[in-house]
């Protein structure tokens, strides 16, 4: 009987001790709903081959930040998190994340991990986030409409003059066919697809480590002129003016749009759901050539206070292995480790290669108030874009947005 008591007490003690930091055999992880196509299968495969078991919970995109913040305040945050990379600095600045610098630098392939993810995951020279999944913005074009318009279907536009000229020729096909599409009332979509036009032309939106906004630049004005011209000439459908992102991808899927800057996520979606749409993928070009991309996706982060890095290392070794990267690519995410990307993509649609190259040269603007200045539906970026694309006072709109954006940046953390 006494022996039984000792065994029972020991069991209870064992059950309590590791739980305080990081349960060795079972850890919890949250991921946002946009990763639903790949995360459950990835975790299932990991669990099947490892002693450590991850319990995955999918959280709606729009609720992730609030839900995590509330859980962190109540001490019930998950151990691991797949977090939209643009939020990594905000979470790190708030002290919610574990410092992964030593672990990251000990990975033999660290130098081959997506630079954009690691950059977005770095706060005050310490690494808090590592690449989990990736998506890069690219330009999709409709090969059938290109052929009908007398254009080479194997060659997408390489500068803005070509974008405008090709859009005009496709528009001339008549009916409800239009040359170009973008979501004109969506801040996040246009950060993803409009910013690369500026970057590829040598401009920038945020400088000095994300502390200063630079909206009124020659590159920004030229890019605005490009979109204004496309709108004024009727190459863009009327619905784009008020599209807050609902048709970001659906517009091109109608098979009536010549070109549209979207994310690589659309490749798999079109192949699966709209097999009749014959499309090509190319880089988002600069004004006179060059190329750029917005490197998006999720960072892998660990909740502050979880000290058992052995489990984290085990999971990272798996997702960065050829098996993990191939599985991610097959399920819809771009590879995040460049030295195994070719192998991960070899069995897949070759259009992913352009997106992977775009990822390699992609950039991610970082700021603890990114949501405020760029994604917010009441924010300065969205309002400015809609005004300059469809309104009449470009200079006034740029000045107002610059002022608002800078005041938000200046008040960050105060």
């Amino acid at each position: 009987m006494r022996m039984l008591k000792i065994v029972a007490l020991a069991t209870i003690a064992l059950g309590i001790t590791p739980g305080a930091a990081f349960a060795q055999s079972k850890v919890t992880m949250w991921s946002r709903s946009s990763s639903e196509t790949f995360m459950p299968t990835l975790i299932k495969t990991f669990n099947a081959s490892h002693k450590t078991q991850i319990e995955l919970q999918i959280v709606p995109n729009t609720e992730m930040v609030q839900k995590y913040a509330i859980a962190a305040a109540g001490g019930s945050a998950p151990d691991l998190l797949s977090l939209d990379l643009v939020y990594t600095t905000a979470f790190a600045a708030a002290g919610q994340l574990e410092d992964l610098t030593d672990l990251a630098k000990s990975l033999p392939f660290f130098a081959n991990l997506s630079k954009a993810h690691v950059g977005a995951g770095t706060y005050q020279d310490r690494i808090y986030g590592l690449p989990m999944s990736a998506d890069a913005s690219v330009l999709l074009y409709n090969k059938r409409l290109f052929r009908q318009a007398g254009l080479d279907p194997e060659k997408g536009p390489t500068n803005w003059a070509e974008i405008e000229s090709y859009a005009g020729k496709i528009n001339a096909l008549g009916g409800d066919i239009r040359g170009f599409y973008f979501s004109g009332a969506c801040g996040g979509c246009n950060a993803f697809t409009f910013m690369p036009l500026i970057w590829a032309s040598g401009g920038d939106i945020l400088v000095d480590g994300g502390k200063r906004a630079t909206l009124d630049t020659p590159q920004m004005r030229s890019a605005i002129d490009l979109y204004r011209g496309l709108v004024a000439k009727g190459y863009v459908p009327e619905g784009a003016r008020t599209d807050s992102g609902a048709n970001f991808y659906g517009g091109f899927a109608t098979d009536k749009i010549g070109m549209s800057p979207i994310g690589a996520f659309a490749i798999g979606n079109l192949v699966r759901n709209y097999p009749h749409v014959e499309f090509g993928v190319t880089f988002i070009p600069g004004k006179d050539g060059g190329k750029s991309s917005f490197a998006g996706g999720d960072n892998f982060v660990v909740t502050a206070g979880r000290k058992n890095m052995g489990v984290v290392r085990e999971f990272l070794d798996f997702i960065y292995s050829v098996e993990g990267q191939s599985l991610l690519a097959k399920l819809g995410s771009l590879p995040t480790r460049s030295d195994v990307a070719d192998e991960a993509l070899k069995a897949l649609d070759q259009r992913y290669r352009v997106a992977t190259q775009a990822m390699a040269l992609g950039r991610t603007p970082t700021s603890p108030v990114y949501n405020d200045i760029i994604n917010s539906s009441t924010g300065p970026w969205k309002q400015m874009l809609n005004e300059v694309f469809f309104g009449n006072d470009v200079s006034g709109s740029l000045a107002r947005a610059q002022k608002t954006m800078q005041s938000i940046l200046d008040s960050a953390g105060k």
Binding site: A90, T242, S244, N386
Partner: protein, 313 residues
Amino acid sequence: MPREHAVMPNTSSAADTIRPRRSRQRRKQLTGFLFVVPAVLLVLVFFVIPLCMAFWMSLHNWPLLGKPRFIGLDNYVSLLDDARFWGAMQFTALYTVVVTIAIFAVAFPLALFVDKGRPLTKFYRTSFFLPMVVGFSSASLLWAWLMNVDAGLFSPAAFRLGLTDKPVNLLAEFDTTFWSIVIMVVWKTAGFNMIILLTGLQGISAEVQEAARMDGASNWLRFRRITLPLMRRTIALALILSVAGSILAFDQFYIIADGGPRNSTVTAVYWIFSQSFVSFRLGYGAALSMVLLLILVTISVIQLRLLRTPEGM
């Protein structure tokens, strides 16, 4: 003294009768109190305590991520300079005035229409009330589709019928967005206001109307001198509900217009939501909420005073 003696027995017997009466009264009060306890608890838990917490929160720099810091009245000072909040308040005031007038302009005639005994009255009442059972979010989604320039109903239909020379994007300009949403809200809530007004109409004694008619009062005179004055309380209730609901408007502007075009339809609650859950400034959002609550209470008190029933009515 003898007099005092004379009253002594009486005093004692009065005390004897008062004591059980008091204890009966106390029991009654206790029973009444017990009946009220659940309601009091509900109000405490779901209104008073959260309200106190929101006020406490409003005195802090309370980020969604990170630790709160006490800053006193700084949030209240900041909101005085928040042009976007006052802009949103101005828009909310415009919307409240317009939509309240529009709802009454539709609901009152509907109430008069369905008050009369005529064929199919029940059918009309049900039909007019029906949009009310649809939630605001669902109704907004429905109208967002109806108003879509490419895949919707209104614009493509008007174009195909030759009423417009091209499909009109109703959400592209402030005027068309604003009036479309006002129409949607009237469609959705006029039936509810009609029912409230109908209860007021049916509370007016038929004899009073009949007497006035026999005295030769015209329909208009009876409406102005009998119906309207006797419906003061009902009108007050309907007005307060409509004004309070409009000041707190959010769903329809968020779902249909996303605050657009170009942030021109951002309401006060939308701005509070945006500050709290997009910018993660919970303390500031709480301060904005307290100010909005104060404005709402003031307006309701003024409305109640203006529409108070005169003595004797």
